[in-house]
């Protein structure tokens, strides 16, 4: 075998290793979280971990490790964010792909990209210095750091994903669908509502799921803007602590190898599995809309 063929084989395997490393990293993350996280259950029953709303690892005598309040908080800010971001994001995507003249489209796209590029810590800072006082003023609260603030900021964080993926889905609807509708004398608005949006619906669901994934996993914005009180959330004006924020707050102060340390990995494991589920759902819907594409 000539040298150049040997070189070729060498590089082929080198690149194969790089490709396979992606699988390796995903599995290592899962295994590392599981190995550390599952050690929590040497001290804590799984039922207590899932069903108890009391997360109080540093309580003297009887520490408790229940993630229900953390999960409920994450759920609440995510739902709040989606109530804002889904209509706004789909509306913007529809405007960009179907209505806007090209020069407006060319300005809106960078706007969405810039919004996506703002670091989450800056968005969180904005929540503290601008949105927080605004919310406190509007609703006569002592503090504006609550679930509402977090929801609005998470909506801002999720918007670019929802807009760009929805826009892609809308644009992948075959032209013939619209042309057939126009040929029957249907105007642009009804064509958009009755033909284009339904045809793109699975792609739009995929976009929303990706947005949900961003909202669930976002750490800094919620850490800075929601007040982080450990409690079952009652309303959007309550201070909440999400799973991500809880890890960020407590990991720095726990000694290595304690139940508390493992408990945080267990929270991370739950978070990982949730994001995996959201991603797989999104992928399922993406496949559907890729299939409609010619």
């Amino acid at each position: 075998m000539k040298l150049r063929h040997l070189t070729d084989t060498f590089f082929r395997y080198l690149f194969l290793v790089a490709g396979v490393s992606a699988i390796g990293i995903l599995f290592s993350i899962f295994i590392m979280l599981a190995i550390n996280g599952l050690q929590t259950f040497a001290d804590v029953s799984i039922a207590q971990f899932i069903l108890s709303a009391q997360w109080n690892p540093s309580a003297f005598g009887e520490p408790s490790y229940g993630i229900l309040a953390l999960v409920a908080s994450t759920f609440m800010v995510t739902v709040g964010a989606m109530i804002i971001a889904v209509p706004l994001g789909i509306g913007t995507a529809a405007y960009i792909s179907e209505i806007a003249p090209s020069y407006i489209r060319e300005t809106l796209k960078p706007v969405v990209e810039i919004l996506a590029g703002i670091p989450s810590v800056v968005v969180g800072f904005f929540g503290i210095v601008f949105l927080g006082p605004l919310i406190a003023d509007m609703f006569n609260l002592t503090s504006g750091l609550n679930a509402l603030n977090g929801s609005i900021l998470l909506a801002v964080m999720a918007l670019p994903t929802i807009v760009s993926v929805s826009e892609d889905a809308l644009r992948s609807v075959p032209k013939e669908f619209k042309e057939a509708s126009y040929a029957l004398g249907v105007n642009r608005w009804l064509t958009l509502i009755k033909i284009t949006l339904p045809a793109a619906s699975s792609g739009i669901v995929a976009a929303v799921m990706l947005g949900v994934g961003r909202a669930i996993g976002e750490t800094m914005t919620v850490l800075m803007a929601t007040g982080n009180a450990l409690q079952m959330p009652g309303s959007f004006f309550d201070s909440v602590r999400t799973m991500t924020a809880n890890i960020a707050i407590e990991l720095g102060e726990v000694p290595f190898g304690t139940t508390h340390y493992y408990g945080l990995f267990a929270v991370g494991l739950v978070l990982f599995l949730m994001s995996l589920a959201v991603n797989i759902t999104s992928e399922h819907f993406t496949k559907k809309y890729r299939w409609t594409r010619k």
């Binding site: 082929r12 194969l16 790089a18 490393s21 990293i25 509306g91 590029g117 670091p119 968005v123 210095v129």
Partner: protein, 288 residues
């Protein structure tokens, strides 16, 4: 009949108006965020703010160590994630055949992109800081950020490879070149602008991340600059977090926090701008 048409026209008018309002609202959100931070941050920024370390319990002085720290950790991120990411992209684009392995690799990449950043932080603590005994250091943090950036680098690099016309490969292969010779001489040069743009964009995202470095090496305050890979470091995003939530005199240091936020935004935008300009220039150079 006529009134029905008119009604439909009105309907369309209102519908388009609502969608336009959505888009306008997104623009307004971006404008308010940038405007608030730019207006309140600009008065803080001066040469001494950029070139001095924090003083007097971080109530005065500048952010130099944070800028330098972010710079170094970003370089480690790039050194780690770009070669592996581009390698994986070459495999997927040039060698891989459809099959279970390729499907698994692609599915893993997509799922890695959705893993929360704080989970990367946990992984970094468990693997780099504790298991590999690298400690909380600039190396651990850089590697953690590298893992986070990897799926982005692979995806953008693969897109860059896909834009290279098939004929470039076929011409080379037909002359008897091996796949690697073809990639090196006929594919990589043309994909290079796209790879570089994707890499810089990925790096700029890493530079703004906070959660993954929280426990893998970033420090509250260090008077001196990091001297080795095992030192801790200050970083701009973390400095902003500290100055806006953890400082003992939060209201007093608000101007410093605004200044830090503005510097961070400008840094990220400059990186983005560099990427766009490089893409434009290199494309002109290579593709006629």
């Amino acid at each position: 009949m006529d009134s029905k048409v008119k009604k439909r026209q009105l309907q369309q008018y209102i519908g388009f108006g609502i969608l336009g309002a959505c888009a306008l609202f997104v623009v307004i959100i971006l404008f308010i965020i940038l405007y608030d931070i730019a207006v309140k941050g600009i008065s803080t920024i001066s040469w001494s703010f950029l070139s001095e370390p924090p003083r007097a319990g971080m109530t005065e002085g500048g952010i130099l160590p944070a800028i330098i720290g972010t710079f170094f950790v970003t370089i480690i991120t790039a050194v780690f994630s770009v070669p592996i990411g581009v390698g994986a992209a070459i495999y997927l684009s040039e060698y891989a055949q459809e099959g279970w392995l390729t499907r698994w690799i692609r599915a893993s990449i997509r799922n890695l992109a959705g893993v929360p950043s704080i989970v990367y932080g946990l992984f970094g603590v468990a693997l780099f800081v504790n298991t590999m005994s690298l400690g909380a250091s600039i190396l651990s943090a850089g590697l953690t950020l590298g893992l986070l950036t990897l799926p982005w680098i692979i995806t953008t690099a693969e897109e860059a490879f896909q834009t290279v016309p098939k004929a470039y490969r076929e011409g080379s292969l037909a002359l008897g070149a091996t796949p690697w010779q073809t990639i090196r001489r006929n594919v990589l040069p043309y994909a290079f602008p796209g790879i570089l743009t994707g890499a810089i964009l990925g790096i700029s995202r890493a530079a703004g991340e906070t959660a993954p470095i929280l426990f893998t090496g970033v420090a509250f305050f260090l008077p001196q600059l990091p001297g080795s890979l095992t030192d801790q470091f200050m970083a701009l995003p973390y400095h902003l977090y500290i100055m806006s939530t953890q400082h003992h005199a939060i209201e007093a240091v608000r101007p410093l926090a605004y200044g830090t936020a503005l510097v961070l935004i400008i840094l990220v935008f400059l990186l983005n701008l560099t990427a766009i300009i490089l893409r434009y220039r290199l494309r002109k150079k290579y593709v006629r």
